[in-house]
C-alpha cells in the first residue's frame, strides 16, 4: 500500500466516521459552570431604556444578560427610580441602578375617575416630581384622543420640587376617552407621559329627596340639585296627612328597601320627624345598598335619628351672628349660616366635611360631617339656616350641596363593580381585574351564591370574545383575575355578568401605551435590599458586576452535550471527501 493510498483511505474513513457519528448523535453528560443569567429590566421603557442598554453592555462581559425580567435568572437588575408593578417574574437577588437625571421630571400618582357622567368635567390630577430644574418652566398638557384639551405651565422654584397639577377634560360624547398626561420642562426634549382611560357614560345619579314635612333647607338643596344635569331627582314632600307633592315615582314610605335601593342617594329633609321604621329603613339602605344618606336639619329638635348619627350631645349656636362654614378640602364653595348645630364630640370614625373655626380655640367645629354606616355613608348638616344665604354672591350654597350629594351618590356601589389595575395596555400586557358583586357582598345572608362570567370583547372588530377567568378572592361577592391585552390595538370592553346584572369597563390597547412611572428611589432601595441586593446610582455602575458576583453563587450543573449537532462538522466532512477526490484525480483515477 502506497503512501498515497493510505492517505486516501484515511480521508475516506474520516468522512465515513463523521457521517456515522452524526447519524448516531451521541449525548455526553457533564457538570459545567456557565455564565450566570442576569435579567435587566427598565422600569420606564421610555426614559430608562438607554441606561438599561448601558447596564446590559456592562454586564454582558461577565454574565448572560436577558433584557426582560425572567423568573429563572440568577439575579435581576432593575433600572429606574420606580417600583416594578409586579414581583412575579423577578428573580432574586435584585439590584437597582438609579438614574441620575438632571434636569428630570416624573409624573407620579396620576388619578382620574374610572367613569364619569357626561355632564361633569373630569379632573385629572398628578404630582410632578422635578429635579435639577430650578428656574425652568414646567408644562403639563392633557390630551384626549390625541387633541390637547388643557394645559398648565408653572415655574419650578427649586431643584427638588413636587408640584401637584390638576387638569380637566370636558367630555364631548359618551364612550371611552383615552387621556394622556404629558409633562415637559422648557428647553428639554424628553417628555414624560402617562395614559389613563375614562369611561364617559350617559348615566346620572339617582337621588331621592324625602321630606316628612316641608322644609326650606331641603327645598333649596333640591332645587340646586334639580338644576344640575348630573342628577335625576325624585322627590316627595309630605304636606299633610296622606297628602304630598311628588316628583317622579318616589316610594310611599322610606321602609320600602326594594324601592329605596333604586336610588344612589337619599336626602332627608326635617329628619327630626323620622319615625323608628324610617330610621331602620335608612340604616338598611346604608348597610345593604351601600348608598349615601344626607340628613338636612333645618332646626334642632330631638328625634329617632340619633340612632343613625350616634351623637351624644348637640351644641347649638343661635346667636344670629352669621358665620362662614368652610369645606375641609379647601374648596371655595363655603356656606354661611347664623343658626348652627354640631356634635359636642364628633362620633367615632366620623369626619368633617365643612367646619367653622372657633374664635376661642384653634379647633374647628364640624358643622357638616359624614360617617360610614355599613358600606354606606351618612352626611349630616348642621348649618341649619344656610338656605337663607343661598344667594351666589353670599355663599357657595348650590355648589357645596351638589358636590356633597354627588360624592355621596358616586360612592354608592353599582350592582357589579369592575376595577382594572390598568385600563390602557400595550399589546400582550397583562392587567389585574377585581370584580365585586354588591348584593352578594353586602347581603348579610351567608353562605351567598353568585354566578359570575367575564369576557373581553372588542368594540371595533368582530373578533370573538375572549373569556376571562375569575376566582373568588377573600370576602363573599369578590372575584379577581387577570386579562391579557390582545395583540390587535383598539378599544375593548370587559363585560361581567352576575346574578342577572351586567357591567362593562373599557380597556384600551395601544402600541404606545404609557404608564405612570412612580419615582420612589427610597422605596426601591428598601425593596431591593429586602431581596438580597442593593441600589447603586448611575455613576457607580462599575461596581455592579462585582456586587452581582458577590451576591450570586451559580452552582455547576449537569449539562447534556450533543457534540455532533454542531453544523461545523460539515467542514471536515467536506474537506475530507474533497481531498480524497482530488488525490484520486491526481492519480488519474475516476
Amino acid at each position: 500500500m502506497t503512501h498515497d493510498l493510505a492517505t486516501r483511505w484515511t480521508l475516506r474513513a474520516i468522512a465515513i466516521a463523521i457521517a456515522v457519528l452524526a447519524a448516531l448523535d451521541p449525548a455526553i453528560a457533564s457538570k459545567r459552570r456557565t455564565k450566570p443569567a442576569i435579567a435587566v429590566a427598565a422600569m420606564d421603557s421610555h426614559r430608562d431604556s438607554a441606561l438599561a442598554d448601558r447596564v446590559a453592555r456592562e454586564l454582558g462581559k461577565t454574565f448572560a444578560v436577558t433584557r426582560a425580567p425572567v423568573s429563572n435568572a440568577e439575579g435581576t437588575v432593575l433600572v429606574g427610580n420606580g417600583l416594578p408593578s409586579t414581583s412575579d417574574e423577578i428573580a432574586t437577588p435584585v439590584f437597582a441602578v438609579l438614574p441620575e437625571r438632571r434636569p428630570a421630571v416624573a409624573l407620579n400618582a396620576v388619578r382620574a375617575p374610572a367613569w364619569t357622567p357626561r355632564e361633569a368635567r373630569v379632573p385629572v390630577r398628578a404630582v410632578a416630581h422635578i429635579a435639577g430644574a430650578r428656574g425652568r418652566t414646567l408644562e403639563v398638557t392633557l390630551s384626549a384622543n390625541g387633541l390637547i384639551v388643557d394645559r398648565v405651565t408653572q415655574p419650578v422654584p427649586s431643584d427638588d420640587e413636587r408640584v401637584p397639577v390638576s387638569l380637566a377634560l370636558v367630555p364631548t360624547a359618551a364612550g371611552v376617552a383615552r387621556l394622556r398626561l404629558s409633562a415637559v420642562l422648557a428647553g428639554a426634549r424628553d417628555t414624560v407621559a402617562s395614559d389613563v382611560a375614562v369611561d364617559v357614560r350617559d348615566q346620572r345619579w339617582r337621588v331621592l329627596f324625602f321630606d316628612p314635612r316641608p322644609s326650606w333647607m331641603s327645598t333649596f338643596v333640591r332645587r340646586a340639585v334639580e338644576r344640575d344635569a348630573r342628577f335625576v331627582v325624585t322627590s316627595r314632600v309630605v304636606t299633610s296627612r296622606n297628602i304630598s307633592t311628588d316628583a317622579g315615582q318616589p316610594p310611599g314610605r322610606l321602609d320600602d328597601l326594594a324601592a329605596l335601593g333604586l336610588f344612589d342617594a337619599v336626602v332627608v329633609g326635617a329628619p327630626e320627624t323620622l319615625g323608628d321604621n324610617d330610621v331602620v329603613a335608612i340604616d338598611a339602605f346604608l348597610r345593604r345598598r351601600g348608598g349615601g344618606v344626607v340628613l338636612l336639619f333645618d332646626r334642632r329638635a330631638p328625634g329617632r335619628y340619633d340612632k343613625l348619627t350616634n351623637v351624644d350631645t348637640w351644641v347649638d349656636d343661635s346667636t344670629g351672628k352669621t358665620l362662614s362654614v368652610v369645606p375641609i378640602n379647601g374648596d371655595s364653595a363655603t356656606l354661611r349660616a347664623s343658626d348652627l348645630a354640631w356634635p359636642s364630640h364628633l362620633p367615632a370614625g366620623a369626619e368633617a366635611i365643612a367646619h367653622i373655626v372657633s374664635p376661642a380655640s384653634d379647633t374647628g367645629r364640624a358643622i357638616v360631617w359624614r360617617s360610614a354606616v355599613g358600606a354606606g355613608r351618612l352626611v349630616v348638616n348642621g348649618a341649619l339656616d344656610s338656605w337663607r344665604f343661598r344667594d351666589p354672591t353670599l355663599s357657595g350654597f348650590d355648589r357645596f350641596w351638589t358636590t356633597t350629594i354627588a360624592e355621596a351618590a358616586s360612592a354608592a356601589p353599582a350592582p357589579i363593580t369592575i376595577h382594572l389595575a390598568t385600563a390602557v395596555l400595550a399589546p400582550g400586557e397583562e392587567s389585574k381585574i377585581a370584580v365585586s358583586v354588591r348584593d352578594a357582598e353586602l347581603s348579610g345572608d351567608r353562605p351567598s351564591h353568585s354566578s359570575v362570567t367575564a369576557t373581553l370583547e372588542s368594540t371595533t372588530s368582530g373578533a370573538a370574545p375572549i373569556s376571562v377567568r375569575l376566582q373568588p378572592s377573600g370576602a363573599a361577592g369578590q372575584f379577581e383575575g387577570a386579562i391579557g391585552a390582545p395583540i390587535l390595538a383598539g378599544v375593548y370592553r370587559v363585560v361581567v355578568s352576575a346574578d342577572g346584572n351586567r357591567a362593562e369597563a373599557p380597556v384600551v390597547v395601544a402600541t404606545n401605551a404609557m404608564h405612570p412611572a412612580t419615582d420612589a428611589p427610597d422605596l426601591l432601595t428598601a425593596w431591593v435590599n429586602a431581596r438580597g441586593g442593593r441600589a447603586l446610582s448611575e455613576s457607580r455602575l462599575g461596581e455592579l458586576t462585582a456586587a452581582l458576583r458577590q451576591a450570586i453563587h451559580p452552582a455547576p450543573h449537569l449539562e447534556i452535550w450533543n457534540p455532533m449537532r454542531s453544523p461545523w462538522w460539515i467542514v471536515p466532512f467536506a474537506l475530507a471527501l474533497s481531498a480524497e477526490w482530488w488525490l484520486r484525480r491526481r492519480r488519474g483515477m475516476a
Binding site: P113, G146, T172, G374
Partner: protein
C-alpha cells in the same frame, strides 16, 4: 487651391454632427433644468396656486440648464471630428486627418484628394442616428417635462380643491374668494379716520360704524351672513362685490362665494368686536365736599376733571339755588362760567372761583352744584359728577343733609296721627287754659301740621303749585303736571288713586292748618282725620301689594283656605331631569368637531371649510366672549394653515382652539367626584365605626 468636392461633403457631414450634438446638449440641459424645477415645485416653490410663476420658473431653469450644458461642452473644447472618431473607430483617424486638412492643407493635392475622397466614402456609410442617438436625451426631456407638469397640476388642483370646500367639483372650485377689503367708517361725530384692512381675521369697530366689505372673488355671487341677518353683496365690477353693515353688536360676518350654478365656495369668517362709546366721566376735584357757610359773601374755588373715550364736546358747571323754608321752596337753575383747559380732545380740566354774592342767598338757603360734560354723540346723555351743596347756615342751626327733613328737629317727623293726638289733648285742656295760651298752642300745632304736610309735598316732588287753592275741588288735578308724571305712572312708581288720595290728604292738612291758626279746633280735627283717612287709603296694604305683584303672580284669593278636604290629593309631577344649557351643548359639539378634524391624518380636502364652520359655531354661542372670539380666530387660522399645506401649524392651532373652548366650558360644569373607594373598604370603615360605638351601633 479650391477645396475638392469631397471636402465639402466632409464639412456638411461634420456640420450635421455638430447640429445633432447641439440638440442633444440642449435637450439634456433642459431636462436637468426641469428636474430642478420639479424638485422646487414639490418643495412648495413657487407657492401653490400660482401656476404662471411655476411655468416661468421652469422655463428659466430649462434655459439655464441648456446654457450650463453648452458651457460644459464648450469647456471641453473637443472637436467634432474627434467625437466622430471616438464614436466610429472604423474611421481610423481618417475623419480627423481630413478635418485637419480642411483647416490647413499641408500635403500635396493628390494626397489631399485621396484623403477627402476616402473620407467622403467613409462618412457616407456612417449612420448618424446610430452614432449620436437623440433618443435618450429626448426621453429624459419628455419625462422631466411630464413629471414637472404633473407636479404643477397637482399643486394647483389641490389648492383649488381645498378652497372649493372639497366638493370635488371643478365648478365649486371656481367659486373662491381671493381677497376681502374691509373699510370701517366710524360715525361722523367721532372725528375718527376711516380704517382699511385687507383679509382681517377680526374687525374692531366703534358702535354705529359702517363696515364696508369689498370682496374680490371668482364667483357669480357673494353673500354675507351675520348672527341675525343674511344678505347678498352687490357686484360692482367683474369679480368684485360690495356690501355694507352696521356694527351694532359683537358677532361675525361670514362671506360665502357662489358659482353660477349655485355651488358654494369656502366661506371666510371675520369676527366683529364692537367697541362702545362710553359716556363722558366728570368729577369735581375741589372742593369735592359739602360746604356750610356762615354767610353768603363767600367764594368757592371749584375744579373739575372731565374725560371721554373719544372727544369731549362741552363741560359746564350747573347749580340749583334752593331758597325759602317750610312749605315755600323755590328752585332756580343756573350755570357758572368756567375756565377750561383742554389737555387734549379727550381730557379737559375746568376751574372757577364762584362768588356766591351774586346769587342773593339768605340764611338757610343753599346751592346744589354739579359738573356736566357731554360728548358729540347725538342724543347721548351727558355725564354728571356727584352733586355737592353749599348751605348758608341759619343762626345757631346745623345744615340739613340735602333735601331730607331736618333730623334735628322732631317736628318734621311728627306724624299726622300725632297732630291729631296733640289737637285732641289741646281741646281737652281748653277749659284749663287761658285764651292766649290756647291760641298760641293752636298756632304751634298749625305749624306742626304744615310741616307734616310739607313732608308729603316733598314726597310728591315738591310741586306745591299743584295744590294752590284750599277751597278748590279735591278732584281738580293739574293735568299738565299729571301728564308729566305719566312716565312714572307707566313705570309703576305711582298709582293714580294713590296720588289723588295723597293730594286730598295734603289739602285736608292745609285746611286743618288754617283752622288751627284760628284756634278753631273742631273743624281742624275733622280735616286732620280726613287727611289721615286719605293717607291710609294712599298707602293701604292692598295698594302696596298690588303694586308689588305682577298680574301673573297675583294671589288668587278664591283658592286660599277654601275647598273641601276630601278634594285634597297627592300632587304628582314628572321627575326632574335637568338638561345642559344650550351654551354647553353648542361648545361641546364644536369641541367634538375639532377632535374629529384633528384626528384625521392627513387632513381631508374639506378641512378648511370645516374649520370655518366650527369657528362660526363658536361665535354663534357667544360672540361677545373674548376667549371664544380668540378660539374662533385660531380656528380660522388653522383653516388657512391647512389650505396652505402647513399641517403641523394647523394642528398646533387646533390644539390651542380646543384648549380655549374647553377652558370656557369648564366653568359651566362641576367636577366628577374622585374614584369611589371599593365597597369592601367602605364596609370595613362601617364595621370599625360599629365596633367603636358598640353597643349602640344599630337601631
Amino acid at each position: 487651391m479650391n477645396a475638392p468636392p469631397d471636402a465639402s461633403a466632409l464639412r456638411a457631414f461634420l456640420a450635421r454632427v455638430s447640429r445633432r450634438l447641439a440638440w442633444t446638449t440642449a435637450a439634456e440641459g433642459a431636462a436637468a433644468g426641469l428636474v430642478v424645477a420639479l424638485v422646487l415645485v414639490m418643495a412648495g416653490w413657487p407657492s401653490r396656486g400660482a401656476p404662471a410663476k411655476a411655468i416661468a420658473a421652469a422655463a428659466s431653469l430649462a434655459a439655464a440648464g441648456m446654457f450650463v450644458r453648452w458651457l460644459f461642452m464648450r469647456g471641453r473644447g473637443e472637436r467634432v471630428a474627434l467625437i466622430v472618431e471616438r464614436r466610429a473607430p472604423q474611421c481610423r483617424n481618417l475623419v480627423v486627418t481630413a478635418d485637419e486638412l480642411t483647416m490647413s492643407n499641408t500635403v500635396v493635392d493628390h494626397i489631399a484628394v485621396l484623403v477627402f475622397s476616402q473620407t467622403a466614402r467613409l462618412v457616407n456609410g456612417l449612420d448618424l442616428a446610430a452614432l449620436f442617438p437623440l433618443r435618450n436625451s429626448l426621453i429624459a426631456l419628455a419625462l422631466s417635462t411630464g413629471l414637472w407638469t404633473l407636479a404643477v397640476a397637482r399643486a394647483t388642483t389641490s389648492e383649488a380643491e381645498s378652497r372649493g370646500g372639497g366638493g370635488g367639483s371643478s365648478r365649486a372650485a371656481l367659486a373662491a374668494i381671493s381677497a376681502i377689503d374691509v373699510t370701517v367708517i366710524p360715525p361722523a361725530y367721532t372725528g375718527k379716520h376711516v380704517e382699511s384692512m385687507v383679509d382681517p381675521a377680526r374687525i374692531e369697530a366703534l358702535v354705529g360704524s359702517r363696515v364696508r366689505l369689498t370682496v374680490h372673488a371668482r364667483a357669480a355671487g357673494v353673500s354675507m351672513e351675520s348672527i341675525h341677518t343674511r344678505d347678498s353683496l352687490v357686484a360692482s365690477s367683474s369679480g368684485t362685490f360690495e356690501g355694507e353693515l352696521i356694527a351694532d353688536a359683537d358677532g361675525y360676518v361670514a362671506i360665502e362665494p357662489r358659482s353660477a350654478d349655485g355651488h358654494a365656495g369656502v366661506r371666510r369668517l371675520i369676527g366683529i368686536s364692537v367697541l362702545p362709546d362710553n359716556a363722558p366721566r366728570v368729577r369735581i376735584t375741589a372742593p369735592a365736599r359739602d360746604l356750610f357757610l356762615r354767610d353768603a359773601h363767600q367764594t368757592i374755588d371749584i375744579a373739575v376733571d372731565a374725560s371721554d373715550d373719544l372727544r369731549l364736546a362741552s363741560l359746564r358747571l350747573r347749580f340749583t339755588k334752593v331758597s325759602g323754608s317750610g312749605e315755600r321752596f323755590t328752585f332756580t337753575e343756573g350755570e357758572v362760567p368756567m375756565d377750561i383747559v383742554r389737555t387734549n380732545e379727550r381730557m379737559w380740566k375746568g376751574h372757577t372761583t364762584w362768588r356766591l354774592d351774586a346769587l342773593g342767598l339768605s340764611p338757610g338757603d343753599m346751592v346744589v352744584y354739579r359738573a356736566v360734560a357731554a360728548d358729540y354723540r347725538p342724543g347721548a346723555t351727558p355725564g354728571e359728577s356727584d352733586s355737592f351743596i353749599a348751605e348758608i347756615l341759619l343762626p345757631g342751626g346745623d345744615a340739613a343733609a340735602g333735601f331730607a327733613l331736618d333730623p334735628e328737629q322732631e317736628r318734621y317727623a311728627v306724624s299726622q296721627q300725632m297732630v291729631i293726638l296733640k289737637t285732641e289733648r289741646l281741646s281737652a285742656r281748653r277749659a284749663a287754659t287761658s285764651a292766649d295760651a290756647f291760641t298760641t298752642a293752636a298756632q304751634e300745632l298749625a305749624a306742626e301740621q304744615r310741616k307734616v304736610r310739607a313732608e308729603f309735598v316733598f314726597m310728591m316732588g315738591g310741586e306745591l303749585a299743584d295744590a294752590p287753592d284750599l277751597s278748590g275741588s279735591l278732584t281738580d288735578i293739574n293735568e299738565e303736571a299729571e301728564a308729566e308724571g305719566e312716565s312714572d305712572l307707566l313705570a309703576g312708581r305711582m298709582a293714580n288713586q294713590g296720588r289723588v288720595a295723597l293730594l286730598r290728604a295734603i289739602r285736608s292738612m292745609s285746611r286743618a292748618a288754617a283752622s288751627l291758626t284760628t284756634a278753631d279746633l273742631g273743624p281742624a280735627l275733622t280735616h286732620e282725620r280726613a287727611a289721615l283717612a286719605q293717607l291710609e287709603r294712599a298707602f293701604s296694604r292692598t295698594r302696596i301689594i298690588l303694586r308689588a305683584l305682577t298680574e301673573r303672580e297675583r294671589l288668587d284669593l278664591t283658592r286660599r283656605l277654601t275647598g273641601v278636604l276630601t278634594d285634597a290629593a297627592r300632587d304628582v309631577h314628572p321627575a326632574v331631569d335637568a338638561q345642559p344649557s344650550a351654551r354647553v351643548l353648542g361648545l361641546r359639539r364644536t369641541l367634538a368637531g375639532i377632535a374629529a378634524l384633528a384626528g384625521a391624518s392627513p387632513f381631508t380636502a374639506d378641512a378648511p371649510a370645516q374649520t370655518a364652520a366650527l369657528a362660526e359655531s363658536v361665535l354663534r354661542v357667544d360672540a361677545s366672549s373674548k376667549p371664544l372670539q380668540d378660539a374662533a380666530a385660531l380656528l380660522n387660522n388653522a383653516g388657512d394653515a391647512i389650505a396652505h399645506g402647513r399641517s403641523v401649524d394647523a394642528r398646533a392651532l387646533l390644539d390651542r382652539a380646543a384648549t380655549g373652548i374647553a377652558a370656557s366650558l369648564r366653568g359651566d360644569l362641576a367636577d366628577a367626584p374622585a374614584a369611589a373607594l371599593p365597597a369592601d373598604v367602605n364596609r370595613l370603615n362601617g364595621a370599625l365605626n360599629d365596633a367603636l360605638r358598640h353597643p349602640r351601633a344599630t337601631p
